[in-house]
């Protein structure tokens, strides 16, 4: 009897331990991609007609996977130190919306011609920062390596950078935004981002 209880509790403990362990980073990235592709396949006509609905879907499904505050800080780089809390928050949101508008439209235009293949992830058990590698396969074109830099944030793995052909989104925007801030100041950059000046227009 004692043995049984011991066994049971051991089993229970291992179960809870399992539940507490975060979902593996590559699984997070894969599940999100699959979910998004399914949504796009099912609703792309609706999304094309109603961009508000589409942006909202992306905001609900995709954005929670990203560590938005951290990305905001990384992109601001040295300017994050001098920015006020209010500026940081506004910048984060403006940057996030800008990316949604740009990339969501690209996805809507190309989702049916793209396949993603995932490379197996090798990571140390105690790693808090990994890169999940994948390859974008497009019919009749060169495959494009895409990496998701992810960090353990509390109990969840979140994306903080995307690299395409090893070109980092964060570094790209950091160097450009640094330059803009130097010229015009942070407030002006945020206002222009909020106004949608830097977003790709949907293909008509």
């Amino acid at each position: 009897m004692k043995k049984l209880i011991l066994l049971l509790s051991a089993a229970l403990m291992s179960m809870t331990a399992h539940a507490a362990a975060p979902k593996a980073p590559d699984q997070v990235a894969q599940d999100a991609t699959t979910q998004l592709l399914q949504l796009l396949t099912a609703n792309h006509v609706k999304y094309k007609a109603d961009s508000k609905l589409y942006y909202k879907t992306v905001n609900d499904v995709v954005v929670p996977l990203f560590d938005v505050p951290y990305i905001g800080r990384l992109v601001l780089g040295r300017n994050a130190k001098t920015a006020t809390d209010d500026q940081r928050t506004r910048f984060q949101n403006a940057f996030k919306d800008m990316l949604i508008r740009s990339y969501a439209n690209a996805m809507l235009d190309n989702f049916d011609s793209v396949k993603v293949s995932w490379q197996p992830l090798r990571m140390a058990a105690d790693a808090t920062d990994v890169t999940v590698s994948s390859t974008l396969l497009r019919t009749g074109k060169q495959p494009v390596p895409v990496g998701f830099a992810m960090r353990l944030n509390g109990t969840e793995w979140k994306i903080y950078d995307i690299t395409v052909e090893n070109i980092s989104l964060v570094i790209n925007f950091r160097s450009q935004i640094n330059e803009e801030i130097k010229k015009n100041g942070l407030d002006s950059v945020i206002t222009r981002m909020e106004s949608g000046e830097y977003s790709a227009k949907p293909k008509s």
Partner: protein, 275 residues
Amino acid sequence: MRMGNTKFLSRSLMLLISVMLGACAHSPIDEPSDPLEPVNRAFYSFNEQLDNFVARPAAKGYVAAVPEEVRNGVRNFFSNLSYPTVVVNSALQGKFKQSGLDLTRFVMNSTFGLCGFLDPATMVGLVRHDEDFGQTLGYWGVGPGWYLMLPFFGPSSNRDLTGRAIGITTDPLTYVGDSTINLAMTGASAIKTRADLLSADSVLEQQFDRYVFIRSAYLQRRQSLVYDGNPPRESYELDDEDDGDSAPAPAAKEDSSESKTSDTSPIPRFNIDIR
């Protein structure tokens, strides 16, 4: 004795080159060394105009007029033409096995592939590599130096411009005596290259500062090529940042041995080619 001499000679040559290229100055990736920025920007505007009025229309016309199969053939042809450079540079980076496979690829595509228009080598598993003299210099520890924007040719760096100059020796077009053929080939190659980049135009349009975007993308891309697609991860955190909530610097932990390799070190890295 003789051996020692050659070694000394090659070492001092390497030293001379690295001093020439100012390899010691390592700039952070988000603020690359660009002392010629005013000149570079002027050349960039010139290139943009040239692109607006000549290159892009030509590329668009080419895509519209020429069927995809033929365009693929043209792409293969020019890729094959640059392959002697790849063979030589694979060897110069100590990747002898890769160099041998690259030579096989070149011979195969030049013969069975009808002067390179077809690509049978890929079908039998000989993958295409991307190597040039700029990458070889980088492999042996030479940093990019200054960023340069060349008129007509586009982005470059001290290192890559040096590489480009050396590359003339392995470019088959150098040995074509007829300047008309030479010019036509160069033009065709430029149009093909521009056509392949047409889909990137929309990305370019939504940048804050296209000049800075291209500079950043170019330097990161070259760094990636030097490391054959596996560049050491740059730490995104700033060194002077010490506020408590910052995450552990994203220097990849899973391959700490790799991430320590500094790209300014003159010690060659012997990468294991997993491809």
